[in-house]
Amino acid sequence: MNRRNFIKIVSFGGAVTVATKLSIDAFSGTNANQHSGKRWAMVIDTRKCIAQGGECRKCIEACNDSHNIPKFENPKDEIHWIWKDKFKNAFITSENHYLPQKLNEQKVLLLCNHCDNPPCTNVCPTKATWKRDDGIVMMDWHRCIGCRYCIAACPYGSRSFNWRDPRQNIGNLRDDYPARTKGVVEKCTFCDELIARGGMPACVSACEEGALRFGDLNNPDSDVRKILLDNFSIRRKPELGTSPEVYYIV
């Protein structure tokens, strides 16, 4: 074989390999969802939230009900995907002694920020948590080994661990959503199961006041983009470079 033929054969082989790989990727469909070109994000209007008073828990209950989230008496065992805490705790790096009274007294909603640069997925030793192309930080509860490295890495305290079997403490066990086993980490997934069917996350649907908005940041006509254009918003600990995708209007 001369050199010319050798180069021909090698480049032909290479081209076939690349073409096969590309066509498999294009037709496999498994990645279709991941190349949606979307970037999901949430905007929380704390003004509307606070106007409802401290007792409103509609979004939290909708989340708990739709995701088989257990209730535990002992705070040590608690699991929450969306919960409330004081403004000064949520925005700990924006320390201010003279906050408006309302902000100082009322609590704000907290959940996974579905960061652009999630530190939790970076540390996971088994790829049991990862970021999808549409920005959702997902969990695989069947792969998680329960090392809790992701909990240590999350700067927002957004991850919970099943310290014990959750099943006995789920009020109304649903069979259309998985209940978790003891020993795995879980958190908010922006209701990936609902948005896959074109729906809205459960918490957003539950909020009649429209304090929670959800949408695609890559679409300039989306709700969330418009709201962010018209209002000043803040994010939790943006200085860490995580680029959180839950925005707060205060």
Partner: protein
Amino acid sequence: MLEKAFTGSKKYWTWIIFLLVLIGVGGIFYLRQFNIGLTLTGLSRDVSWGFYIAQFTFLVGVAASAVMVVLPYYLHNYKQFSKITILGEFLAIGAVVMCMLFIVVDMGQPLRAFNMFLYPTLNSMMFWDSVSLFGYLILNVIISMVTLGAERKGIAPPHWIKPVIIFSIPWAVSIHTVTAFLYSGLAARPFWMTAIMAPRFLATAFAAGPALLILIVLILRKLTKFDVGKEPIQKLAIIVTYAMILNVFFLLLEIFTAFYSGIHEHTLHFQLLYTGLEGNNILVPFMWASVVFAVIALYLMINPKTRVNEKFLIIGCASVFLSIWIDKGLGMIVAGFIPNPLGQTVMYAPTITEIMVSVGIYSIGILIITGLYKIALSVRNQLKYSTLPD
């Protein structure tokens, strides 16, 4: 060679059975934890790592410290360490096994542990830590068995083992560096996010590990006829002294940076440890005990008169060990989680389950080390008698 671990005096067997009982008790506590879940520990969503991970961290240091006898002996041909080197390597084997067990008992789903190798994740420091620990275990098993086996036959060890030994030296440094990287790369935990964590881990390792080795050698001299001689002990004591000075120096650097800059998210964790935070002062007496032990250790180890006196040396080495065990095995991990990322102070204390499981794991480690030392000493004794003139 292994059979030598199975013959011994009544005293030896009493010790073994005592350890087996402790392992059994720890095992029962672990089975309970395995069935019910980690809720039996004091851990929570705020303090999600605690006593187990702290013991793991401390013991990685003990394991890495074997390099402090391996390096002078093999790289610098420091013959005085000929008797002590195998003891350091066997100590490392026991320590690495304990490290791995502490990781496993801390896992929520230990049966899935091998997912770590089924889905290797190069960007996870935990993956690299497990690789480096497994590698270190294998290296030490090969090196110690080959060198001791050759010694038993009265021949020189094979040539190929030398590069393996040289390779194990940077590897030992790497296990504790990667362990520090587990913590020091997390933006969420400002207390740990310090570039000096790896150097400080190494300093604590090279102080606590050889201090423990000195104590072990002195105990062995008392219990058996095995005597490594005075000089290697004194050499090790100097290593301990320098490493302990560096450790305290590094800690003071940390405190300077935190308090001179005054950044709250750095100072609060030190306050939690040394003065208490929002009324939570459970760690304070321990941390000050660590300080007192460090001062005693530095005084006794730096002063040449007390260092050469073995009575004081024992106190000095025990103080080094205790000071560092409290610092790394109690304070460091927990303080990283308190206050939590929301600035709340949620306290943690280990439960009886955590303590008994840990006692079980330490007993497994001590059992392994006992068995290995028995082998080493038997080989050495035979050697002594066989070289005697008829």
